[in-house]
């Protein structure tokens, strides 16, 4: 009754994974560093840019659970 794409025919591989999140604090000699750009690169166009807040906190949101590289972008103070 559901045709070739009925629920019973969906392969397990199509199940969505919940996104992950990376958060933390950037410090220098234990002191929070505000206004520092951080870049998350995970190959190709999968990049995410964020900036540390007044307390040096940062967060990369809605990340697919896969490996990546986090980079500190050019310093603009």
């Amino acid at each position: 009754m559901f045709g070739p794409y009925g629920a019973a025919n969906f392969p397990d591989e199509l199940a969505l994974q919940a996104a992950g999140r990376i958060a933390g604090t950037l410090t220098r000699a234990g002191v929070p560093v505000p206004g520092r750009e951080l870049l998350l690169t995970r190959g190709g166009p999968d990049t995410h840019l964020t900036v540390t807040d007044a307390e040096g906190r940062f967060a990369f949101e809605a990340l697919a659970p896969r490996p990546g590289a986090c980079s500190s972008a050019p310093i603009k103070t």
Binding site: Q17, L38, A73
Partner: protein
């Protein structure tokens, strides 16, 4: 695995900063907490003062660029701003390093767009550089065709260099005002008519505020 590196967003090759090296895992539906420490980075104060004809060059634009080991400018580490009301700047930069400091503009009534440049080593102690320039006039006489651009370079005290760029337009006997006194090298004069390098490495002395005439050579 997550590795933390410095990244140049301006197009140059990224470079890894070992100070931010970390490994971690992004988990589905979870927050991964990381603590990044800029261990080893020091901030060194760079100060400068510029006066022109005794007047603080307040409002002039400055650009501080870190130089790499090869002496090339690192486009990823650039700081810019304006001189304050005393013609000064004071900024904290990452050290130890060598920084190329350029102070220039904004364009005024003069056709010369002055830029003063110096390389400053940043070590443990604050660095302060200052320059006081007196200006004069320079005139290019007997030009028998359209003049487009003149570029001049001046060597000042304590390593300062001055670079002036003058879009003169189609005129003869063009005059530049606001040229710093000293030994000026006119290293390029181009015409809009396709005649390049009419002047090449002509050196003149501008001893006071009187006008100095430089003949234009064919």
């Amino acid at each position: 695995m997550l590795e933390c590196t410095h990244q140049d967003l301006s197009g140059a090759d990224p470079w890894i900063d070992e100070r931010l090296a970390r490994t971690t895992v992004v988990r589905p539906g979870a927050t991964t907490e990381v603590a990044l420490e800029l261990a080893g980075e020091r901030r060194v104060e760079l100060g400068a003062r510029l006066t022109i004809d005794g007047t603080p060059a307040s409002g002039m634009y400055f650009l501080a660029t870190h130089l790499g080991p090869d002496g090339e400018e690192d486009p990823a580490r650039v700081l810019e701003g304006a001189l304050d009301g005393r013609g000064e700047l004071r900024v904290d930069l990452e050290g130890p390093a060598t920084v190329r400091l350029m102070i220039g503009g904004p364009p005024g009534p003069s056709v010369v767009f002055p830029s003063y440049v110096i390389e400053v080593p940043l070590e443990d102690e604050p660095a302060f550089v200052e320059l006081d320039v007196a200006t004069g006039s320079i005139r290019f006489a007997d030009a028998d065709g359209p003049l487009a651009d003149i570029e001049l370079e001046w060597t000042g005290p304590a390593g300062w260099r001055w670079i002036g760029f003058a879009p003169l337009g189609p005129q003869a006997g063009a005059r530049l005002d606001g040229v710093p006194l000293g030994r000026i090298e006119v290293w390029s004069l181009r015409s809009g008519a396709g005649r390049d390098d009419l002047l090449d490495s002509v050196q003149v002395e501008v001893g006071d505020s009187s006008e100095v005439v430089v003949p234009v050579e064919e």
